[in-house]
């Protein structure tokens, strides 16, 4: 692999040089790919994608972790697993009434229970779009793109209202 005539020190020098060259090549390729992407993709779109990528990875592992805690019984569920078949055929309204959970964010008081602990991961994934939109807003404001800033602000308002539970009507 190494063409070195200087014994062990020579081989070491050759190895470090090879590693440095490879690292420089990788950096150049990354910059080239990034520049190519920027030809087709705006900076804010790229920022949205980067944040979304991190969020999805985190959300996925978090959800799987909380679900394992739930099914293995590390965190006691509000509805015992063996009783689930009696509950999952009820409507959402009947279920909430029978276990005494209100609408909106009242489930938050039950996150100590394994089943409701999973709602943290679910709500994180549901809220990820909102977080990514907020990441984009500074780019648009900096560019003085007021039309898209307004559309984005409206979307953030709609998603925030949906998340707040204010748009959840009792039936």
């Amino acid at each position: 692999m190494f063409k070195s005539d200087g014994g062990l020190p020579g081989a070491w020098r050759q190895l470090t040089t090879n590693l440095k060259v490879r690292a420089r090549l990788r950096r150049q390729q990354t910059i080239k790919a990034r520049n190519l992407q920027l030809k087709y993709v705006t900076l804010e779109q790229r920022a949205y994608a980067d944040l979304l990528d991190v969020g999805v990875r985190f959300g996925r592992y978090f959800l799987a972790g909380t679900f394992i805690l739930y099914v293995f019984g590390f965190s006691a569920p509000k509805i015992p697993l063996s009783e689930l078949p009696a509950y999952w055929s009820m409507s959402a309204y009947q279920l909430s009434a029978s276990i005494g959970v209100g609408t909106g964010w009242s489930w938050l008081s039950l996150v100590g229970h394994g089943d409701y602990l999973n709602f943290l991961g679910i709500s994180f994934l549901a809220g990820l779009t909102l977080i990514c939109y907020l990441r984009v807003l500074p780019f648009l404001l900096h560019r003085k793109d007021f039309v898209f800033s307004a559309i984005l602000t409206l979307e953030v308002t709609v998603l925030s209202l949906a998340a707040s539970g204010l748009l959840t009507f009792d039936h």
């Binding site: 992407q37 990528d53 689930l84 078949p85 999952w88 055929s89 959402a92 394994g114 709602f119 679910i122």
Partner: protein
């Protein structure tokens, strides 16, 4: 994928072993099968649906809701909430790649997403307020509509847009993307924007009411009505779906229309199936799978109609 497999193995371990000590022993009232059998069955079904959905070119939610509500003992409220989460998880996972590659376009997506997500909140509230049989009847009708759309609608890879309309020009709904197959840059612009945006109101309402995602309708509207190239339509549709389903999912979550035992295995089964499906995409006979999807939807649509009629 490793994550999904480890959770599936965990579920199998629970199924084969003793139940956790916290669970009180109360006899189940609504089903002859134990809870874990339904959950494992759900995992298998969502895995298969994940494979079929990718190869057949449809979203997971549109298959999941009619099939699971028709053949599983879960209430439609929880199935719809989970359907939204499945569609959301798939769209979020695909988002970074689509956005970085320029296949999804943020500027094209934002106006329709705003309209459709607002409508989805209204739709979700209506859907949760309506009696079950009415929702089943409407779901059956919609699914049969989706079947006709899939069977009849033609797609255009590069629709001809002679001139961008004033609204799309004002909203800068145009762009350029690189097609690696033809190795060329493709410029695109949009027309019939007001008609397209009006259709997104209906799409949002239906997505919220039935939890069936919106990809099946987004793509034809973007591609055939607004003249967006097919690849950008598919990519941007997925991105719009992530916003619309987020809004509707919050309504279902805030209504308590989610059960972790249904939602999480379904999401994991679908994710695992989709991963396998992507690998099979180059080898599978897409035309045959598409016919299978149409057949499955037809069956599920009829089943939903029958349930709606109380049969």
């Amino acid at each position: 994928m490793r994550l999904a497999i480890s959770v599936i193995l965990a579920l199998l371990a629970v199924a084969l072993g003793d139940e956790p000590a916290m669970a009180q022993a109360t006899p189940p009232a609504a089903s002859a099968l134990p809870w874990w059998a339904w959950v494992l069955l759900l995992l298998v079904v969502t895995f298969v649906l994940g494979v079929v959905a990718v190869v057949g070119g449809v979203g997971g939610g549109v298959l999941f809701v009619p099939i699971v509500s028709g053949f599983f003992p879960f209430h439609l409220d929880f199935v719809r909430g989970t359907g939204l989460l499945i569609a959301l998880a798939g769209a979020l996972a695909a988002g970074p790649t689509l956005l970085r590659g320029g296949i999804a376009n943020l500027q094209l997506a934002m106006p329709p997403a705003l309209i459709a997500s607002s409508a989805a909140i209204v739709g979700a509230n209506i859907g949760l307020a309506l009696p079950d049989n009415i929702v089943q009847l409407a779901l059956g009708t919609i699914i049969l509509g989706v079947v006709s759309l899939m069977a009849l609608a033609r797609k255009s890879a590069y629709p001809e847009v002679p001139k961008a309309d004033a609204l799309s020009a004002a909203l800068r709904m145009h762009g350029i993307y690189h097609d690696p197959f033809s190795d060329r840059d493709i410029e695109w612009k949009v027309h019939r924007t007001p008609q397209g945006l009006a259709l997104f109101i209906i799409i949002g309402l239906l997505a919220g009411m039935f939890g069936i995602g919106a990809g099946w309708a987004n793509v034809p509207v973007l591609n055939l009505v607004m003249g967006v190239p097919l690849k950008v339509s598919v990519g941007t549709s997925s991105f719009i779906l992530s916003i619309v389903d987020s809004a509707a999912a919050w309504v279902y979550l805030n209504h308590g229309a989610m059960l972790a035992i249904i939602a999480v295995p379904s999401m994991l089964g679908m994710m695992l199936g989709s991963t396998i499906g992507v690998g099979l995409l180059s080898r599978a006979n897409v035309a045959v799978i598409r016919k299978v999807v149409i057949g499955l939807l037809l069956l599920a649509g009829i089943r939903a109609l029958l349930k709606g009629f109380g049969v």
